[in-house]
């Protein structure tokens, strides 16, 4: 509505000024500075020399050997690969674990639904560090699992299951961290499913598998995609799980980046890897937006 005598533009500018200044200065600004730093020369005492250099990016692939020649260094590629594989595995695992649960919850009565969803949401609002730390108690030496195995006599005297500091431990940590984010979107798209559709379909398809394949899966696809993105992206840049459960020996992108700003003091390299991670995320988000558009068009044009 356009009430007489109101300066709409002025109101809009004033109203959005706080938002733009805070996020503009303290979010976009830092990202730009980080991009700049990724293109600068590293300073051994920490920080950067104000000089242009591509070394930050070069270091991802190459190492300079004793003779000053550049050698291909697979170490960081391995880290990138590991991050990818773990992120994808965590996403798939979350999907497998979360999908039936989301379905079950969506078929309950309203009252039960609300309570169950609330219970799913709670972990999201608690400290991720603490929740991941709990797994150290479970997986660690002398932890819950080992103690129970010990108790059951399944472990020999000096043995330990060595669950910690493995890729599997990190995987468990990743799944645990972001599982609610997989469940919520799937639940949301399932909730919208009309019971009558299922009833009608049940008449047509004699098997439950058919029901899943033909009706439930396609209809909850937006939720599945949404949930997968919500899990995949944070897993890619995860820091806590690899750091705590991987013990810093198995680096992922997140811990690699953090390392450059704590012990390694290689800011341009850290910034370069961060830029790489950011680009990956942007790619994934664009891909997601594209899928959403196609899906919407499909819905309209059938």
């Amino acid at each position: 509505m356009n009430i007489q005598g109101e300066n709409k533009t002025q109101n809009r500018v004033l109203g959005l000024l706080p938002l733009w200044s805070v996020i503009g200065i303290f979010m976009i600004g830092p990202l730009l500075v980080m991009a700049a730093v990724s293109l600068m020369e590293s300073n051994v005492y920490g920080g950067v020399h104000f000089k242009f250099s591509l070394n930050g990016y070069r270091q991802i692939l190459f190492d300079t050997n004793l003779f000053g020649e550049r050698e291909f260094n697979p170490a960081y590629i391995i880290i990138i690969g590991r991050s990818f594989i773990l992120a994808i595995s965590a996403t798939i695992l979350s999907l497998i674990i979360g999908f039936p649960a989301a379905y079950f919850i969506s078929r309950q009565s309203n009252k039960v639904k609300n309570i169950l969803i609330f219970l799913v949401t709670i972990p999201f609002w608690t400290n991720l560090l603490i929740r991941t730390f709990a797994w150290i108690i479970i997986l660690g030496k002398g932890g819950v699992i080992e103690s129970s195995f010990n108790f059951l006599g399944l472990l020999d005297d000096e043995g330990s299951l060595n669950l910690m500091y493995t890729n599997s431990a990190i995987l468990i940590g990743l799944v645990y961290s972001y599982l609610p984010l997989m469940v919520l979107p799937i639940y949301a798209s399932m909730e919208k499913m009309d019971m009558r559709l299922l009833e009608a379909a049940a008449d047509l398809y004699s098997s439950r598998i058919g029901l899943i394949r033909k009706i439930i899966l396609p209809l909850s696809m937006p939720g599945i995609i949404g949930g997968s993105i919500l899990v995949f992206v944070p897993c890619l840049g995860a820091f806590i799980a690899p750091d705590l459960l991987g013990g810093g020996k198995k680096l992922l992108l997140g811990s690699l980046i953090q390392f450059q700003f704590s012990y390694a003091r290689n800011w341009p390299f850290g910034a370069a890897v961060a830029m790489f991670l950011l680009s990956l995320v942007i790619l994934v988000l664009f891909f997601n937006a594209h899928i959403n558009k196609r899906h919407r068009e499909y819905e309209i044009h059938g």
Binding site: G15, M34, A101, F104, A134, G237
Partner: protein, 267 residues
């Protein structure tokens, strides 16, 4: 009262209820284990010797932990209100302000902190403050927190505003209110529950933040999660269990309160 017979629908898949139980078990057992172990009277966190409150008691004499907790509260109680105010203004413009060119961009801007991976934000903010020489201790942390609290405060406020009939403000104007008094007597009271919800979410998010604080906080500005991290790095000690359990309970309490609060609102 007759007994309701459980009608087996074709869409009730067998085993899904069991699966969901396992699902919730997976989600909550680690927390449960953590809390149990915090009552472990043994010094070695992994070996259970008996029930005791001693680690909680020890927290009270630990100045470092208390300082860290205080810092966490200071940051949250500063960043969350600021973020909530910014979010409120933004919501008023983006929901009620009609269409304008920067609208989509502004909507995107608000969600930006949610889309950028936390580690990237953390590192970028660190570099930013360092290169500009901004070394204001806790204020650095407060600024960083305000940024990512904004989208969390925004969501409930936006939802509340969208649920509000726009004709209410028009009715007030029609009945001789000028713009300010219409906002004051109609919009604001009806928006207040949403604003409070937004504040609660922002507060919890700030209290729980770890990665960004880890990178941005200088020496004297440790918050509780960062302090817990340093303790964990040194090895698992039962004190960590105790303080962690307390933090968990605190967050869960706030979120539960938020949930109950929202269910009671019923205009």
């Amino acid at each position: 009262m007759g007994k309701k017979s459980k009608f087996r629908h074709v869409w009730d898949f067998p085993g899904f209820s069991g699966w969901t139980a396992i699902f919730f078990g997976f989600l909550y057992i680690p927390i449960f284990v953590l809390v149990c172990y915090s009552f472990n009277s043994s010094k070695f966190a992994m070996i259970w010797t008996g029930f005791s409150f001693r680690w909680y008691a020890k927290l009270f004499s630990n100045d470092d932990i208390q300082n860290a907790a205080l810092n966490s509260l200071i940051v949250a109680f500063t960043a969350a209100p600021i973020a909530t105010i910014i979010a409120t203004f933004s919501a008023l413009v983006l929901v009620r302000g009609g269409d304008f060119r920067a609208k989509e961009l502004s909507n995107g801007l608000i969600t930006l902190p949610l889309m950028v991976p936390e580690i990237v934000t953390a590192v970028a903010t660190l570099i930013f403050f360092a290169s500009l020489g901004i070394n204001l201790g806790l204020i650095n942390v407060i600024i960083a927190h305000t940024v990512f609290c904004i989208p969390f405060a925004y969501m409930p406020i936006r939802a509340a505003l969208e649920a509000m009939d726009p004709n209410l403000e028009l009715a007030a104007r029609d009945l001789y209110s000028d713009k300010t008094s219409a906002f004051r007597t109609i919009t604001l009271p009806l928006l207040t529950p949403g604003i409070l919800s937004g504040f609660m979410l922002a507060f919890v998010i700030s209290i729980d933040d770890f990665i960004i604080t880890l990178m941005v906080a200088g020496g004297g500005s440790t918050t509780l999660p960062v302090y817990i991290y340093s303790m964990v790095k040194m090895g698992v000690s039962p004190e960590v269990n105790a303080v962690s359990s307390l933090m968990l309970s605190f967050s869960i309490l706030i979120v539960t309160f938020y949930w109950l609060f929202n269910r009671k609102i019923n205009y």
